[in-house]
Structure formats: C-alpha cells, structure tokens
Symmetry: C2
Subunit: 881 residues, 2 copies
C-alpha cells in the first residue's frame, strides 16, 4: 500500500514536521489545541519526492487523494469548490521542514473563475471585493505558477487607474476590476500561451506542482548550499480555506509577537490593519497600527489575541510570531512560528522563561546562539542607518569604529598618543605595525583573510577590523587611497563595521553594546553546565582584566613576543639579535630582563587566583628587524644624504643580519623551541623574568599567582626535556636567591604533527599540553595561512573542495584526528595531564564542541570570545550528554 501523502490539519502535529513542513506542523498543532484555524490539509514532503520520482508530474493517485480532501473540505465548510453558490476558496502555501526563503510562498483565493466569482458576489454581496479577489488571484497565479513578471499586470492596472482619473488601487471601480480580469486573462494567453484554467482542480494541481518545482529553483538551491540544508528534504504544500480580512470595518489582518523581539520584554507586540489582506501590509500603502490599540477598532479583540499568544507560548515554550486574520469580527489564526529576536531579546526571553518556570536552564542555554553573544560585546553601526557603504570587506573582528584615515604606523602612533581617533589603513599588517594598531580605533586592510595578522591581532584586542577589502587601492608613498572611486587622503574620516565588513565615508551613528543582568545570569547557567574550562589569550594586564571581566578562568596563552615590540625595547631586542657572541647577547638580554619582569609582574597580579600560561619566545628573530627592502631603501637614502659613517654602518649591520636570518619558509624555520635550543640565554632570561616576578609578588603577600611556562613548537621529546631542565634550573636559582618557594610548572604547545604522534614521549616531560591549532592546521594541511588564503583557499571554499576554512573551523577529519591521537597518547603516559587549546579555534563554537568530545580540559581564546566559548562549551556538554 502506498504511504499516506495528504493529512488533515487534525491528523498532524509538531512531531510530523519532517513530512508536514514547518508551516503545516504549526497549523496542525494549533488545530489540535483548538485554536480558530481555518480548516485545511497538507500535501506532504513525501508527495514532493513522489512528484520528482514521477518525472516532475503529480501521479493520478495523488490527484485523487487531493480531490477527496477537497470534497472533505466542502463537507466541513458547507462550501463548493468552483461553485456558483457559496464557493470554496483556498490558499496554497509551501512549507519546508526548514524555513526557506527563495521558494514559492503563497497563492490566495484559488478556486475563483468566471462562475465562482459570481457565487462570491452573491455570498458577500460585494461586487468590487469579489472582482478584486479574482484579479489578484489571476495575477498571483500568472506570476507564481506561470512565471509571468508582475509588471506585465501592473502596467495594465496603472493604465486603468489613469483612465479612471488617477488614484489608489482601492479606488478602482468594480467595473474597472471586471475589465481588468479580462485583460489579465489576455496577458495569460499572450505570455504563457494557454487559456487561464477555469477548472478549480486544474488550478489547484498546477499550483501544487509549482510549489514542488520551486523547491529546485536556483535561489532555493543556492540558499540550501549556503545554509547546508540537504537537497532531498522536499517541501510540503498547505491547502487551507480562505478567510478574508478585507470584508469591511469589522475585518482585518495582522502579525504579533508574544514578547518584544527587540528587548525581550513580556508584552504583546505587533501590528494590524483594518479591512485589509496580508498583501496590503506588505505593500506599505497604509500604516499598520500597534496591536495595543486594536480594541479601538475591534473591542475585546486584544484579549482574544492575548489569549492566543499565551496559549501558543505555553504550548511551544518559546516566543512566537503569529499571523492572524479577522473576518467579520471572527479571529482566525493562520500561522505560528518561533519568533526571530535580537541577541539582547534572546537573552532576556531565555532568562525570563526560566524564572517563569516555562523552561529549564539547560533549554535557556541551548536557545542562545554563541555568535549572538559575540555581537553583544561590541559596538555596531546603528541598524537604522541607511547610508550606503563605500565598500565591503571581510568582517574580521566585530565592532564599529570611526576615525581619521592613517596609512603609516608611525603616524598612527603619534596621532593616537595625542588622543586622536584614527583608523589604520594598510595593504596588510605585520608585527611591526603593532604600535599603530594599539593606537588605532580600528583597522582596515586591502589584503588578507579572516585569519591574517590584522584579523588575529584585532580579535585578540577586541578592536574592530575589516580586512581583504578588494575595492581599496592604497598608494602608501602618496599617502592616499581610492575606494570604489572615492579618494581618501590621510585625515579623512571613515567608519568601519567589523561585524558586517562594511566601510563608510564619514562618521556614522553607532549603538553601544549592552551587557545586562540577563547576559550575566544566562552565562552563569552556562558555567554550571559546561565541562570545559574557559581561559583567555592575553598579553597585557589590561587584556587580563578584560578577560576576567568576561569570565575567563585564567590565561591559556600569554605571548611574550608582543612584549619585544614596544618602542623602549626594540633597540635592546635588535642588539640581542645583532650580537655575534653569547656574551654580547647576554648583555642585551640583561637590558630586557627588568622590562620582561615588569610585564609578567603585571599580568600575574591581574590574574591572581588563576593560572597564567606564558609561552616563551616563538616567532623567528627576523620579525624584530626591519625588512630587507626597507633597510635597502633607508641605506640608499642615508648615503644620498651623506649620513655619518657610524649610522650607515649600523644599518649595514642590520641588513647583513636580516639577510643572514632570511629563510625560505620562516613558518617552518628557526623559531619556537628551536630558538630556545640554539640560543639558551633567551629562554633563560624569560624564565628568570617570570620567576623573579613571581617571587616579588609572593614577597608582597600575593601568594596566589600561578605562572606556567609553555615551550612552543616542540616536535621531539628531547627538545622539551632539555628546555624544561633549563627552565627548572633557573627557577631553582631564583628560589635560592630570593628565598621564596613556588611550584614550577612546565608544559608544551602541541602544534606539530610529529608532536601529536609522539605525544606519549613528550608527556614524560610535560605537565600540560596546549594545542596550537593554528600552526597544527598549517602543518597538517601543508598550508601557509597567509599564502593559502590569498592564493587558493577562496577557490577551495568556493568550489567546495573544503567545506570550511580550516583556520576558522577546526578540521576534525584531519587535524582533529591528530588532536585525538595526542590526547590518547599523552594521557596514556600521564593520566593527570592537563590538556587545553589556545589557537584561534578556541573561540569557535563547532570547534569547541569537538574539543569537548575529545576530552580536553579547557579552551583559551581572545578575551572577547570568552563569553562565546562559555556558552558554546555548555551547549557542547548538553548536546553530548
């Protein structure tokens, strides 16, 4: 026996969403709880599949089924389909299991023809209304089913209005509408090459087929691709008795939300129009009135609506978005669905519903999207603003900023120190742009992807950034830029929105972030539910404080290289690099030691009570020197100007060294623990600075500081063994010198495939592992992040060679397998091994779920991602219970 392909609304419910679609399930559910839903039935998604399997045809058996249901509907309503007396009109609406704009939506008034329109006149005693319904139906049918553009019909309507002496649609005469019906039938004949079908069943079958076809139109296919919706779900079709909001002053139509979708406040929120159909609301010719005033038009209606809202919220236990029509004083409910809301409202509603006893804390936590939380933390361009953007780049770091355009880091620093608000505009940024970035309100680059230097640094600092803005052409020498034809000079004001990637000329109104009580309370519930710890990546005391404020339970990655970048340190750092002997190197390091000690002192103090994982120097040394082309330029300038020989020789020396440090593939070169092995004195200085800061704090009575030393880029156990011994030796020296005791914790980054497969050996020397998933992704894929994004990754993502950008979402299939291997091997050696992750992925929800499943102890991410991670970790725990 064939499966049942058509269901009465009375037969279904929310549990049949897969075959009834979202709209059908909602109608069924509302019918079940006896809300006033006009009777009807749903042709299932299974029928859609049958349609495609039958060569894009409705099989006869399906047609018979539909016919039988229409007969049933005639029985229920006492009306006649296509009849001249009391005709049955229906609406036909698509409804997939997942909400899908881009598909055919609605045909109203189906069942009208030259006969039944007369029946409608008779039943309503309203000629104008009846022919208005009829001409609207022909246009909708012509457009949706036959693909004739709307303007073909509008043109004739306009002409008619002109002929009648001008005015609005609703001022057209009944006779005019009657003639319009004839003209519209002519358009159908001309454009579609068929006669307008008068048989109501033919109309219905054509409409159902059109809904099924629209499942595979181009817009729908693209939408599914983008939103990762399977292509084989299919759509259902809902066929429902028409009710009319345009039957006079006791009729109307509207939408309502059970709570305020902007603030989450528990008030009935919505709009209505008297004597109107849904289309009229959309057309915007009349201004709808707020639902709070409905009793002025229809006394007692507010209470009816409020009752429906209460019922539906109680039933669905979530805020609902409801469509209704009032026909001659009687309320009909046409649709209900979960209401869209702002991030702020989402939090507020979730919190309120827990307090109202409607939902559990778990449900509340699951209802918030982590990315919504991220947006809450940043300023944004006021959504009411309608100024057109100059250009759009990648939304690299959320938040909006306004400031003067500056093209050079030096200028940015100078102006920034004077308190000027500036936007640093560069082709791309490099570590030596740090001072400029620090002083800028925001960053705009013409190159780079979501994980380029500017993006990572900006996210880390919670600073707005738009990167990879192709339209931007920068002339660094000329101190100007062109962006889609608009010339920008240094000092011109622009605004950027790193949440949307938009760039605006001039100052734009911004809205401030709100972190209210609901934010704190819901995230508190998340904290109770999650298993993963959440720490922050932070390099300064300010970052550390920010991280605490956002709920970080320690610092999972404190990079020390940024500490080498400051103006006051650069010359000592360069001395150290230029040193040709260990002794000269040590002398330069002695200058850096007190500065580094100060850095660690500040961070440890700001994070007291929590562990602070400090990574020893990681980047290749040439990053601390000016680049070669720049040095060559400087040198030729100096020579031309006849600079003193001693200055020239210093630059020559820098150039010689920079050339010596040059590498084919710096990413795979002399960096990380390799530096530590080859130049022991650098790591020894850093270890000493850490432990001296610790000793000082303990002596000052701040005993609850927990520094942990992290060795980067270990690929072989012996590397860690050697360096751990050296660090421990320094710790013992400091303890002896300062007469202070403190525990010494040494661990390693796991960011090289070899470290993963030899993690059992490495764990013998490590008290903790922290996955550096950025580098691990680079080496596992053999992708240089910068090169890949610029050269081929966009193509790979565009053509779906890869599903996601592995630098944004952890590649569980490849990188994830190595992570799992490392966890298994590491814990086999040391069951109490603490394992975390401190790459960019630590703040990305899908990746966080993977880390939860892999059994990690914590994730660490930039301070602004901490709330996101707290929520995502709780959701991961709930989903994987």
């Amino acid at each position: 026996m064939a499966a049942k392909l058509v269901y009465w609304f009375e037969e279904g419910g929310e549990e049949h969403r897969q075959i009834l679609g979202g709209k059908g399930a909602g109608l069924a559910e509302m019918t079940r709880i006896e809300l006033p839903v006009p009777p009807g039935f749903t042709v299932t998604t299974e029928a859609c599949k049958v349609y495609y399997q039958s060569g894009n045809k409705l099989p006869d058996s399906l047609k018979s089924d539909i016919e039988a249901f229409i007969k049933g509907l005639e029985g229920k309503t006492g009306k006649n389909f296509g009849g001249t007396r009391n005709p049955l009109l229906v609406s036909v609406r698509s409804g997939a299991p997942v909400s899908m704009p881009g598909m055919m939506d609605t045909i109203l008034n189906l069942g009208l023809n030259d006969q039944s329109v007369k029946g409608l006149c008779e039943a309503t005693q309203d000629l104008r209304f009846s022919y208005d319904c009829y001409r609207r139906f022909i246009q909708m049918f012509g457009n949706v089913v036959l693909g004739i553009p709307h303007n073909e019909f509008e043109r004739v309507l306009s002409q008619l209005k002109k002929d009648e002496g001008g005015g609005q649609d609703y001022e057209v005469s009944a006779q005019g509408l009657k003639s319009l019906v004839e003209s519209y039938k002519g358009i159908i004949r001309d454009k579609a090459g068929i006669e307008f079908p008068h048989d109501p069943y033919e109309q219905l079958f054509m409409a159902v087929s059109a809904v099924f076809e629209s499942w595979n139109n181009e817009r729908a296919i693209i939408y599914r691709k983008i939103n990762k919706i399977p292509d084989d779900l299919g759509t259902a079709v809902n066929i429902q008795t028409m009710v009319f909001g345009n039957m006079g002053p006791d009729s109307g139509t509207g939408v309502m939300f059970t709570r305020d979708p902007s603030t989450g406040e528990r008030v009935l929120y919505g709009e209505y129009l008297i004597n109107a159909q849904g289309e009229d609301v959309v057309a915007g010719l009349r201004t709808p009135r707020p639902i709070s005033e409905v009793d002025e038009d229809l006394p007692g209606m507010f209470e009816q609506l409020a009752k429906v809202a209460r019922l539906l919220e109680d039933h669905y236990k979530d805020m609902q978005d409801i469509e209704f029509t009032i026909e001659r004083g009687k309320l009909h409910i046409l649709q209900t669905r979960t209401g869209k809301r702002t991030a702020q409202a989402a939090l507020e509603i979730a919190r309120a519903m827990v307090h109202e006893g409607r939902i559990s804390k778990e449900t509340a936590v699951m209802r918030i999207s982590p990315e919504e939380v991220a947006r809450l933390l940043h300023r944004a361009v006021d959504p009411k603003v309608t100024v057109e953007a100059l250009a759009q780049g990648l939304p690299a770091s959320p938040g909006a900023a306004t400031g003067k355009v500056v093209f050079h880091t030096g200028t940015a620093e100078a102006l920034g120190e004077k308190g000027e608000k500036i936007i640093l505009v560069r082709p791309e940024t490099a570590p030596d742009d740090m001072p400029g970035i620090v002083h800028a309100q925001g960053i705009l680059t013409s190159r780079g992807g979501m994980t380029c230097h500017a993006a990572i640094v900006a996210r880390g600092m919670g600073k707005p950034a738009v990167v990879g803005c192709d339209a931007l052409r920068i002339d660094l020498e000329g101190n100007k830029a062109v962006i889609n034809g608009t010339e920008l000079e240094e000092g011109d004001v622009i605004s950027i929105d790193g949440g949307t990637g938009r760039v605006y000329l001039g100052e734009i109104p911004l809205v401030e972030p709100i972190m209210g009580e609901s934010f704190r309370e819901v995230l508190g519930w998340a904290d109770e539910l999650r298993k993963l710890g959440v720490k922050a990546n932070a390099d300064t005391p300010e970052d550390a404080r920010k991280a605490r404020e956002f709920g970080a339970e320690g610092i999972g990655l404190c990079r020390t290289e940024h500490m080498f970048m400051g103006h006051d340190r650069m010359s000592a750092v360069q001395e150290m690099i230029l040193a040709d002997t260990e002794e000269a190197r040590k002398k330069a390091l002695d200058v850096l030691l007190p500065m580094q000690e100060e850095d660690f002192y500040g961070i440890l103090k700001a994070m007291r009570g929590y562990p602070v994982t400090i990574r020893l120097l990681d980047p290749p040394l040439h990053e601390f020197l000016p680049n070669i082309e720049e040095l060559l330029r400087t040198l030729s300038d100096m020579r031309a100007k006849g600079a003193p020989a001693s200055e020239i020789s210093r630059v020559e020396e820098l150039l010689r060294k920079a050339r010596g440090l040059q590498e084919m593939n710096p990413m795979l070169g002399m960096r990380g623990c390799r530096l530590g092995i080859v130049y022991p004195e650098i790591y020894e200085m850093q270890a000493r600075a850490i432990f001296q800061a610790t000793a000082r704090l303990i002596k000052e009575g701040i005993a609850d500081v927990f520094p942990e030393v992290m060795i980067p880029l270990v690929g072989e156990a012996r590397e860690l063994e050697i360096l751990r011994e050296r660090v421990t030796d320094v710790a013992v020296q400091v303890q002896t010198e300062q007469q202070v005791e403190f525990p010494v914790v040494v661990g390693t980054m796991i960011e090289i495939p070899r470290a993963c497969v030899t993690a059992d050996e490495i764990a013998e020397h490590a008290q903790f592992f922290s996955f550096g998933t950025n580098d691990l992704t680079q080496t596992t894929f053999g992708y240089s992040r910068d090169d890949a994004e610029a050269k081929f990754l966009h193509k790979y993502l565009g053509e779906k060679v890869l599903k996601d950008n592995p630098f944004a979402v952890l590649d569980t299939k490849g990188v994830g397998k190595l992570v799992e291997t490392a966890v298994r091997l590491g814990r086999a050696t040391r069951p109490d091994l603490v394992i975390g992750i401190c790459g960019e992925h630590g703040g990305e929800p899908a990746s966080i779920e993977f880390f939860h499943q892999a059994g990690l102890d914590y994730v660490s991410c930039s301070p602004y991602r901490v709330p996101v991670a707290r929520l995502a970790a709780a959701q991961a725990a709930l989903r994987n219970k």
Copy 2:
C-alpha cells in the same frame, strides 16, 4: 653462587663473544679447532661490570680466580710466573664484544722483574734479548697502566743511543739496555710516584684494572657514541702465554689475509718479518716481505700458514685476517678476525664463497654493505694520491670530477656546450641553475646540507657534488672565490670528490668505477630475495636508460618541472605564467604541449615494459620566473642604458607577476595539486601530452608502455577526486581522437600529514599511493629543509636532540607512524592499493628496511641508488623473515 668470571681458551667459542669479547672468542674458537694457540685464559666482560660495581676495584674473589688460572697456566706450560727459572711471561690484551679502537690494547712480556729477567736470560741464553724485553715491558706498563707518555722513555733511549755512538734501537748494547731498565724504573718513580712493581701478580692486577678503566676513557666513550655502541657492554681481558718472534733467524711475526683484501682474489695475502715482534712491524723500520716468499726464510712455512688459513676460512666461512708468530721454527696463531676488504673484494669474495659452496646466497647478500655498492658506481680520487685537499665540504653526491671553475649558470651552459669540462661553483643552487648543472662535471657550493637543492639534483643525475664547503668564499660579482687562502678565478682547474667531500686544486688522478660479473651476480641474488620492488626517479630518457641498466623495474617518479626549465621552453612557460586570462594561458600551454609530448614519448619508450609514474607539475610557479632582486637589477640596468620601452615593460610585467606570486612560505603555498585545481588547463595540457605520447607509441607498435599519472600534494580526497576526473576526461578524449585504447591509471603522492590520516578517503580515488617522504618529513616535523639544515639542524644533530638527520634517514618514530597509518587506512579501503615511496629515503638502507616492514610494494630512488636499494631491500627481507 657467583657467576664464572674467568674462562680457559678451551672452554669458550664464538657463541660466547658477548662475555669473552671478539678477541677472546677467536682465541677460544681457534683453540677448540686445535690450531697452535699459545695457552691462556680470558677474564670476561662480566668481570668488567663487577669491577665497576665494586667501585673500580678488582674484588678479592676475582683476584683469587685469576691467580688460580695463572697457576693452571704454569702447569700447562711448565713455566713459573715471576720465576727465576724458565719464567712464565704473558701478554695482556683487551677485547670488547665489538671492535673498539680507542681502548687500551696490549701489554707484552708481563711477568718480568729483576729476578725473572735473569730466568729469561738463562732460558733463552740471550742477555740482550732478555733486557730488551724487560725495558720494553717497563715502558709499555708505564705508559698503558700508569699513563706516562712514551716520550719520557724515548728521550732516555735516544740519549743512550747518542752516548753509544748513534744507530738503531736494535744496535743498542745489552749493557746499555740493562742501564736503560734502571733509568726506566726511575721514570716510573718520578712520574707515577710509585716503585715499579716487582710482584708479577701486582703487575697483572694493575694491567687488568687498566684494561677495565680504558673502557671508560674519553676516546672510547666518544667512539661508542659515534658508532651507537651501548655503554654497558664492558670489555674482556685476554691473558696469554708469550711467544717470541724475535728469538733469531728461525723466528718471526706477521699478518695474513685468507684472500686478497683489495681484489678478493683467492690467494694467501700478507707480510712477515724475520726476527721481530709485532711492534717492529708497526714501527716501520724494516720493510716486511710478502708472505708468498716466506719459504725462502722458513722452508715449508707457507704450507703451514696456508693450512691454517684454509682451516679458519672453512671454520668461519669468511675471509680472515690472522696474526701469527713463529718462535724458533714453531708457528703460533695469536688472533683471527673477519678481514676488512674493499667493496670490490667484498662482492668478489661473497660470490666466490657461494660458488665454492661455503656460504648461501642469503649469507652472501647479507655480507655486502649497501653503501659499499654505492661507492662502486662512481669514479673516485685515486686513494694512492697524497696531494693535500684545499678544503673539505659535505660529501653530497659520490663521484669525482675535474674541471674549470665557473660561477654562473649562463657561462657553465655556454662552456659546457662547447665541450669544456667545468665545475659549477655557487653559494647554493636553485632550480634556475639547472642548465648549468646539466653542463657541469660536478658542483661545489659553499652553503647547503646533504639534502639541499644541489645535493638532491646531483644525486639524481649521478653527478659529483660537494656542498656546504664553509671555507669557500665566493664573490659572484667579481667572478672569483677564496678557499682557505687560495684564490680561484673563473677558468682555474679544480677537482672535487663527492664521496669524501674533498676539494683539490688542479687535476687529480681518478680511478674508474668497476661493475664486474660479481656485482651483477650478487645483486641478482638480492633480486631473488627481496620483496620490495625497486624503481628509479628519472626525468629524461637518458636517466631512464641508466636506471634500467642499474636494474630499476620502472620509474617511480618522473618529475615534469625540469621539462619546463629548458632554454626552448622558458619563454612559453613565462608566457603561461604572465597570462591573465584562461585563454592566454591556454595559448601558451599549446606551445608547450608538443614539447611535453616529446618528453613523455622518449621516457615511455626508454622504459617500455615497465610502469612510468609521471608526477604533474609540483613547484610554485615563481620558480620559473627570475627572482625579484634579479629583475630589479635588470630593470635598473635597462633604464640606465635606455632600452626600448617594450622590453622594459616586459620586465616590469615579469616583476609585477613575480611580486604577485611571492609567498611567505612557498613550501606551504600555491603548488602541487593546488595549482592543478586553480589552473585546470596546466594539468590538462600535461595529461594530454602523456596520453598523446602513449597513443603514438601504441600506434608505432610499442604497446607495452604503462604511464601512470601521479597527483602531488593531495591533502583532501576531494582534490584527488576532481583532478582524477579531469585527467580521465582527457584520456578518454585522446582515446577517441586517436582511436587507441590504453588503461588509465591515476594515483597520488602522500606527502602531507592530513593525507596520511585521511588515507581511507583518498584511497577511494587513488589506484596507487607514493609517499613523498621529503615533503612529509618537512610537514611532520614542521621543518623547512633548507632553513633547518642551515639554521638549527646541525646543532640538533651535534647535541643529539635528534639521532639522525630526518631528511637522510626516515624518522620512523614520527614520519614512520604516519606512513603506517596511511598504509593501514589506504588498504582498508582498497586492499589491492599499490604503495611505494619516491622520496630521497627510497635509496637509504635503514629507511628501506622500514618500508619493507611497513608493507610497501616498492621504493623508488635516483638511478645511482638503485643497486643500493636492491641490496638493502634483500637484506631487509632476510632480516625480517
């Protein structure tokens, strides 16, 4: 009960080598087969351990044991230890389980003192001889046991000789020697602060202790480290009755080999001296005579020696190196061991012994060192040459060459084409030096390691190369170089030996390689025994022919990038890179197509009967453009000279493109299959060239050609899926166009960690895997080969952070684990998956053993390594039976 720590020679044998040491085991074995071995006993390696466990002391129990054995020796010989009548003298020699220069070797004549020397006089009736023995013993004892430098004793001897009127040691009078004994005892007193011990047991215990101590002297420790010998083996001590070769004209001493160690010829080979002790031979004061003439001095002795040689060879089934002494006409055998031999002799002996029925083919194959075979294939500097080398670099590619110094590739090409023999001398080489390398006899670079570009290319071409020659300072602009103070100008003649790394001024006599019948036959046996197939990496028909000659069973890696480098192609290649549209790119590719077809035609033809695995284009495109600094220089030259605008703009275009192609980490950038995905037309052209060449050959009647298309750098199954489809499409097109059928085989390199862990998915689209272990090592370790070797790898190897250079010897712990994972996953999907390896490791014996264990089907290496791989594969099969 304590273990037995001392053994009579009669008690042991070869099976006790671990406790008796090599020398002791040999003496025991010879005693067992009743050769004339002077009686004696061995203090075991266990005793050595007991010595160290007892705080570097001989325990009393051990002393008692030794005393008891000496008593036994007195009984066997009828002599008295330290006695005044017929005194027993012994030699004391160390002997570890593994031959170990650097340890104490020998003390002769132990047991002499002021009393027993008189007994010796009486027994030998030779005053001079007796005191000569005595003074020699004191000097040896003083030196070896007490650590007094030889020259302390030599000085007194010289003075004595002067006092006696000059002359040789053996001309010193008996009275002189008597006085020398007194002086020597004085030296002992002065320098060691003790009286020379007269108690023979005290002498013996001190000597045994000294041997045990020498196990841990610095030289021995270093030797063990270098040769990876465990530190806890310990050494044995052999104590043997003295016999004297210096007792007159019927006495003598010598060494013999059972076969000629240079050629392997089956003749008794050796030297002897009449009336001499071993030391005299070493001192080189008298010239030894060839053993073939021994009957002239001692009639009938040759037959006695030949009999011993036969017996020992029959017994050990290998060529022996034997020490003997003849005392008053009686032959004594003092030592036997496996004889060292040249590579040529090793093959000859192994082959002969199989034919003689002495050993099996398996044993013969196991006896040859694969590296010996490698050396046989190349010319070398004549070992008789005594010219001092100018400098030493790394022996990057074996073989020797002589030619004129040339610093620039252009010049090299020009001179080379004229037939001049040249040596290309560069700081390092890059792909654009290929034309110069092709035309050079050999390559010398000042930078780079064993796996730098020059080294890899040279090994591939079987061309001598010395790289990383630190002493070489090149002034490219000045067209000259300085090497350890010697200035070299272009055109000066030098010689290099890539087998030793030595660089010589001028022309040096070379010896030609010999690949005789024994080479072919023994390698034939290896072929029968091995499980692994052996293919070659070859890019040209000439290489292919060479590879066949060396026994390759196909080409495992045919790189196509070198085909893009030729003079005739460079401009088309650059056109292709400069093309901004697909159409322009296709036009340029159309020019390349017939050239590539010709390449493949030649290679497939040369390799008919065997598969040829062709890798599609792999390197980043910028490798085919001049580098940026060079372009900038050219541009400024052109502008200065007022070159035509069109020429200038072409260079500017090149510069712009080169800048656009520039990458931070080209190794991890836009290369391999990423090129193939982004620019489909490049791979399509190559596929077309391959299949057109195939079709042409088949039409010409050469049906047994087997091209296989290999996609490089796959990290995600989808990449291979896409590219395989494109290649297959082209094949089908060509088959249709040409009306020819041929099988289409497509596989992939596995050279990215992600490919290893997702090998199950990749295998769905691959007919074969070929591990690219060079890149896999780079990504697994996160090492850029060039950068690592230059910047930190030397340090890592020097300080034993890593045991081996992972680019030379496969890292089984890390890279090997990924290889095993890929094999397991790949075969799980496709049990008949063919798996090979085509990295540098394919020709390295230890790595080959790993590949055998991992279950690979074949290894592929440069043609000159093919014989090495055949042998190593057989040995791996035998060792892992």
